[in-house]
Amino acid sequence: MSVDFLNVSIRYGTDREVLKGVTFALAEGAICYLTGDSGSGKTSLIRSMFLAKHPFSGVIRLFDEDVTQLSRAQKLEMRREIGIVFQDFRLIDHLNVYDNIALPLRLRNESEKAIAQQMEQALELLRLTDQRYAFPPTLSGGQQQLVAIARAVIHTPSLVLADEPTGNVDIHMAERIMQIFHRFPKLFKSTVVIATHSYSLIRDHPAPIVQLANGRAEVRQISDLR
């Protein structure tokens, strides 16, 4: 299994648990949505998947490895196998599009020649070739999100996480972004988890759903939703 949650509970400080006994598993190359109302724990679940939030109890296994006991250095190493996209893009403003996207590869000390090859494919795939020297503040929200997606997948991660990736883009760009995410399992054999509350996009691009409600998770299909 690529992602395996077993009875995972998450809480902040001494507050009540945001998630209680969440159990689900995602196979390699699977794509699924994470849905639920605001405050239902979508972001907490995503954060625990990229090892930024330690579970209060339970076991999280990524790529068949228990990640709840990893040291910080091991967590950082594991994170390099994960691509993450946020609603607010989180690009580095003083780096141009090319350098933003190439950053994960440079952190892995890959050669500039190898980086250039992978960059050409990524820029072409996301149709960002013309913007390669542009700086993020000069781009539209949709273009910035495309750059963020390119940065998340440039190193062909085993797991791609997206936290409300269409939250700050128009409907046409949202549609395009969903199409792109749905290509990743085939292109990179990546497991993709998209947190969203846009049921219209889910209906247009169907995939299994992990629905969060009252701190519990339930795996559903689109046909189960209203």
């Binding site: 250095a73 950082l76 390099r80 003083h94 350098d99 950053l103 994960p104 440079r106 952190l107 500039e112």
Partner: protein
């Protein structure tokens, strides 16, 4: 070197205002530390010179003969001559005994003309007459060997054999006071340097935290991308290193300028105190140690602070 290898590539630390602040802070600390060291070295030099000049000097004082006898017009000239002869004889005996004393390098009876020179500032042209007419004590100047073990009490015991009312001035008390004062000032300088080191560490830690705060957004992105802590720590270490180079250059330069101004303003050609105090070139090398220590403290503190703050991100 390509731009992405630059320390400023991902985290623009050099463009951060607090980076200039760190350089200024380090420069100020280097400035104070260097001046403190200069002062300490000069004190050691002065005290060494003074201590050395006092160390081997002892003065035996033989009180003047009874003044009433000298001025007694009834005393016969034969009696006076006899008294003078006896004084001369006992003086010679004492000089011989002192010369034979182990550890005494030389014995010099201060002559009337030398005494006259000593009192000339007070009596002027009348100094010769004053020496001849006033009951001035007889002085014997001793120079002791550097490794002597002879004590002031032993010399006094020898002197009182021929002159029961003799006194010995060994300057030891002054020397001991100078050594004691120098030691105290040395500790004071050391304490100041330790305080400077502590304050430097606190200020660098504060500047590092401030800079981490301003760069938090980028650092969180690097964290999400799985950048090793060493990557971020190294950027801050180099940042602190550059601030140290900048701060050390201007701190040392300013300290040198201040030292020169002080020497120029306080220098007195008639008093060679500053000549004795000026650090030797081998001591000048020591002046780079506070700057080096400040730089190392700054780098270590910046690295340590960043590492600890990154670890604290890893919430449980």
């Amino acid at each position: 070197m390509s731009k992405h290898h630059s320390v400023d590539y991902t985290i623009p630390l050099m463009r951060d205002r607090s980076s200039r602040l760190l350089g200024i802070v380090i420069g100020f600390m280097v400035y104070i530390a260097t001046l403190t060291s200069v002062a300490a070295i000069m004190l050691v030099n002065i005290s060494g010179a003074w201590s050395h000049s006092l160390a081997g000097r002892v003065t035996v004082i033989l009180p003047a003969p009874d003044a009433t006898f000298l001025s007694d017009s009834d005393a016969s000239s034969e009696a006076r001559a006899e008294a003078a002869r006896q004084r001369g004889q006992s003086l010679n005996e004492l000089v011989t005994m002192l010369e034979r004393t182990e550890g005494v390098a030389s014995v010099n009876v201060v002559t009337n003309s030398e005494l006259s020179e000593l009192v000339r500032p007070w009596f002027g042209e009348e100094s010769d007459a004053a020496i001849n007419n006033l009951p001035v004590p007889q002085l014997i100047s001793l120079r002791l060997e550097r490794t002597t073990t002879v004590t002031q009490e032993q010399l006094l015991a020898i002197a009182t054999v021929t002159h029961p009312d003799a006194r010995v001035n060994a300057h030891q008390l002054w020397r001991a006071r100078i050594v004691s004062l120098t030691g105290a000032l040395g500790w004071l300088s050391g304490s100041v340097l330790v305080i400077i080191a502590g304050v430097s560490a606190v200020l660098v830690s504060y500047a590092t935290r401030t800079t981490l705060g301003t760069q938090e957004r980028i650092i969180s992105v690097l964290d999400v991308l799985g950048a090793p802590d060493a990557y971020v720590v190294d950027r801050f270490r180099v940042w602190a290193q550059r601030a140290c180079i900048y701060g050390t250059v201007y701190g040392l330069g300013l300290a040198a300028l201040t030292a020169l101004i002080i020497m120029w303003r306080t220098g007195n050609p008639e008093v060679d105190i500053l000549t004795e105090a000026v650090p030797h070139w081998t001591q000048l090398v020591l002046l780079f140690l506070p700057a080096l220590a400040t730089a190392l403290i700054a780098q270590f503190t910046a690295s340590y602070t960043v590492r600890q703050l990154l670890l604290s991100r890893d919430e449980s």
